[in-house]
Symmetry: C2
Subunit: 189 residues, 2 copies
């Protein structure tokens, strides 16, 4: 059970409704996991049944009533236990890498198009993460914030997300260059 703990960790930041949670997971602000709304609602139901979170209904005037959830003590204990447990090494599952693995056997232009798209996507995420980080640390420098800030967990995971996307972008650009050069040099023969 992995989504379970991702949801718990996300709810630590404060009360959220199922819908708000789906937004967070959707944008990938919670950049450490991804899930569909349906999965999140199902998980919330299970977590509440198990007493790891508790919800309270908030009646709204113009909107449907929503339920805000927070982590209970039992939920915290569960997270503590999870943290101590063995973490399965994370593996990448990336269509794009599969495509590049087959680079010598498929059309270069097609591949380059895919890589450009990914590079653009990565760049957008880099901007997003940059903004999020600036917002989280406020006026402080990164060093100061990490030393004295109150909640650094989300900041640290965001840093990893940022570095990851920078890596993605750089690798995509490098790969595009390589493929282009090979194409030209072969065209001359």
């Amino acid at each position: 059970m992995a989504l379970r703990h991702a949801v718990l960790a996300a709810l630590l930041e404060g009360e959220l409704s199922g819908y708000q949670l789906t937004k967070a997971f959707d944008i990938g602000v919670a950049n450490f996991w991804h899930a569909q709304p349906q999965q999140l609602y199902a998980e919330l139901t299970r977590l509440e049944k198990d007493g790891l979170i508790a919800g309270r209904a908030v009646v709204q005037e113009t909107r449907p009533t929503k339920r805000l959830f927070h982590v209970t003590d039992a939920g915290l204990a569960e997270l503590e236990e999870f943290t101590a447990a063995f973490a399965k090494p994370s593996f990448i599952r990336d269509d794009l890498l599969v495509k590049v693995q087959a680079a010598d056997h498929v059309d270069s232009e097609t591949l380059i198009a895919q890589l450009s798209e990914r590079a653009a996507f990565a760049e957008a995420k880099i901007q997003l993460f940059g903004k999020l980080l600036r917002k989280m640390r406020g006026d402080l420098t990164e060093e100061e914030f990490l030393r004295h800030g109150r909640r650094i967990g989300p900041y640290l995971t965001c840093l990893r997300g940022l570095a990851l996307e920078q890596g993605n972008r750089d690798w995509c650009e490098r790969t595009i260059t390589v493929l282009r050069e090979r194409k030209h040099s072969r065209a001359r023969h």
Copy 2:
């Protein structure tokens, strides 16, 4: 269907038996995907049934008979189609990131232990990828190899794997430092 194409891409490198394939996926040499033996055997069966790969039995003296598989023309066409198709943006799924997200609410030492373990794992992978890359490019420099080498697909994916693990290691070390410093500064108050 993603494993499907990962297997196809892996088989492009040459004929492999199911068992050899499991080794490749197990070590993570095929660093772009990961799968259990059972999944691979099942996938090979399906791929053969669909005519995307073909196998030939090789009788061995002391070992059980094995079947070596290669990609058919239909398989190549399938890969071509896959390459052109939309790639769902890859998301990370990492227990460790979930744990760090909850950093402000769980025990630091536990977290540091997990981060150290991951850093060591990443370092080992870095060494492995380094060796693989040197082996693939032989006497050539990276630039020369990427320009003129025959099969660069696996090299390129390996480069991404290397950068990823370097990113992992650096982030783990940075995070450990941050957590340690916070602990000490709080201990003084």
